[in-house]
Subunit: 155 residues, 2 copies
Amino acid sequence: MHAQFLQLAVDLAAENVKSGKGGPYGAVIVRNGQIIASSGNCVTSSLDPTAHAEVAAIRLACEKLHDFQLTDCILYTSCEPCPMCLGAIYWARLERVFFACNRHDAAAAGFDDSFIYDEILLSPPNRKIPMQHLGLENAQLPFQLWAQQEAKTLY
Amino acid sequence: MHAQFLQLAVDLAAENVKSGKGGPYGAVIVRNGQIIASSGNCVTSSLDPTAHAEVAAIRLACEKLHDFQLTDCILYTSCEPCPMCLGAIYWARLERVFFACNRHDAAAAGFDDSFIYDEILLSPPNRKIPMQHLGLENAQLPFQLWAQQEAKTLY
């Protein structure tokens, strides 16, 4: 069963290249054995660098289920999620993930997945895209307001 | 100059909590000293778990610039990017990033940023959300088609 849904994700990835819609990636989200959403990578066709197959499928599934969490859903993806998609999977609280290729296959095909995994381990200022902490007096104010806010939706 | 734009991101984060739009985060994207896009976190109001302030601002900036890369742009964010946003920053190829709070401040406020950074270091099957490799005979086909495709947009 898992292999069948994963095969659909790989088929979607192949179709995505043939149609020129985007990169060689596909993702399928399933709940209780039913497909809730699926997508290919559409970074270049939608001019959205975050529109990886997994992120796009998560957005579609949330739209369909009218929820910002997918706690009882399984994600099938043609390739190991990159750090962005991995983060999205945690924030969406998916149940589990199956993948067909890995980050090194993606690197061999010219994609930065493995590079970004390596960059995460560096301290922020030492990354290829430098990330610098700047102290501001009231930097904690948003968190303080959040703690005080009673009518808030946790996520 | 950097501190001023970063202050705007923090102000946006505070305003985001007060208005009930979402979590205590804000981001501003600047090119040549001009603000291109800005956003608060809108996960709960847009029912999109990927709508962190940074991701939302990146998507808006790309829309505005009609591009899927932001190579000459600087991102100012009220808090150190989580792994999802960090990945998005690399895929959008921003020039650099400034942040006010860090992942431990976010953790103290009840957010999973630091937890997800820790999870990345584990092997996929050992994560809290298990990620399992399943071998498929034609798993590499999408990458092979991509290599053969001549008229493709790289990203």
